[in-house]
């Protein structure tokens, strides 16, 4: 992308997550990667089909894959950060090969490790996650720079034949902390109960 479009970045993480999940279908499962995406998802509203991964950095996309394969009738949306996905770049290859149609991965890309002090990630230094995804066989992969592009991407995130990888360039702001439930035993039982009727 051009320098001009990069300097025009104005999308804010909370507004992006709200836009993607606004009017969310009740059966949509959302997995948030650790750090800010968890706070963003909590801020958009808790839901029985939310899973907040507050540890295991690099596992968000993998958990999304397992869910997508297990629940093919449900949309699975992974919302994670650029640093989190960079730690698991191989997952893009695994997902490209496994090719679950119901999986979308949204990368909130601020080109920073926001939680540890805003140190730069590789995505601000020429590493193009959408290009990596395309090269891994994920056909629906784009980088989103503007509100208009986001508006066009949301239907793809929510219902296009996937896997979908949407890299959304966002500002490096740090909105107020909104804590989700922190016990995975709780969110685990809540999701399983909703999906299977079993604890």
């Amino acid at each position: 992308m051009t320098i001009a479009s990069r300097t025009a970045i104005s999308l804010e993480r909370r507004a992006v997550v709200r836009r993607i999940l606004d009017g969310r279908e009740d059966g949509t499962i959302v997995v948030a990667g650790l750090g800010s995406p968890c706070w963003d998802l909590a801020s958009a509203g808790d839901h029985p089909l939310n899973f907040y991964l507050n540890g295991g950095m690099g596992s968000a996309a993998a958990i999304g894959l397992g869910l997508a394969l297990a629940q093919s009738a449900h949309r699975v949306v992974v919302v994670t950060g650029d640093g989190e996905l960079l730690m698991a770049l191989g997952m893009l290859a695994t997902i490209g090969v496994a090719a679950p149609k119901n999986l979308a991965i949204v990368v909130l890309d601020n080109e920073r490790y926001l939680e540890t002090g805003g140190q730069p990630t590789h995505t601000g230094r020429g590493v193009d996650l959408a290009a990596v995804a395309l090269a891994c066989g994920i056909v629906e992969a784009r980088t989103i720079y503007s509100q208009a592009e986001l508006d066009a991407e949301v239907p793809r995130i929510r219902s296009a034949n996937g896997p979908v990888v949407s890299v959304v360039k966002i500002t490096a702001e740090r909105p107020p902390l909104v804590l989700p439930p922190l016990e995975a035993t709780y969110t685990k039982h809540r999701i399983r109960k909703r999906l299977t009727g079993k604890p």
Binding site: I29, V31, F51, L53, G55, G56, M57, G58, S59, A60, A61, A62, I63, G64, L65, G66, L67, A68, L69, A70, Q71, A88, G90, M91, A93, T94, V97, A98, A184, T185, K188, I191, R192, L195, T196, K198
Partner: protein, 176 residues
């Protein structure tokens, strides 16, 4: 089943997967697991996922369980080291995990590079709260994997079954 009526131990692991409702099999391709992987791939009721690195399988099977599906992880001992941080998710969330580990770096190993990780498999798994079973004889395979599956899925804990080199056979490198 073998032609003599006694089934091969790899076939027995597959049968235990079947009888315990294992439907997702995540693996890093490995000689020790080759026949088991082929057996699972041939089963239309099972979804096998080939991984680029073992920790992907730990995360994936967490997702499988969230989605109501039982899974198993087939990896080599060197891959255990790749799983450690992801196992923190399993321990924190009390997720079940059934891992079948083909061992290197132990009984009669002729490749010195395999020794460090092979020897560290049990202590690092135990440090992450994984219950570890060793299998050295073909006659013990079925009941050990059966016990591990029951522990994992009924008691929601992480269990690793280590298939020893004494069982699998030791790869020879040195030229006499």
């Amino acid at each position: 089943m073998g032609t003599n009526g006694a089934s091969d131990w790899r076939e027995q692991i597959y049968e235990v997967f079947q009888s315990n409702g294992v439907r997702h099999v995540a693996h890093v391709p490995d000689g020790g697991h080759a026949r088991l992987i082929e057996r699972c791939e041939a089963d239309p009721a099972m979804t096998t996922v080939s991984l680029t690195s073992e920790e992907e399988g730990v995360g994936m099977l967490v997702g499988s369980w969230l989605g109501g599906v039982r899974g198993a992880l087939l990896i080599q001992s060197s891959g255990v080291g790749n799983c450690i941080n992801a196992l923190g998710v399993v321990k924190h969330g009390k997720f079940p995990l059934l891992a079948i580990v083909s061992m290197r770096g132990q009984w009669g190993e002729g490749m010195p590079w395999q020794i460090p990780m092979g020897q560290a498999v049990r202590p690092v798994l135990e440090a992450m709260g994984v219950i570890v079973y060793d299998v050295e004889r073909a006659a013990d395979v079925r009941e050990t994997v059966e016990a591990a599956a029951s522990l994992a899925f009924d008691s929601s804990v992480a269990v690793a079954v280590l298939l020893g080199q004494r069982l699998i056979g030791t790869k020879k490198f040195a030229v006499a």
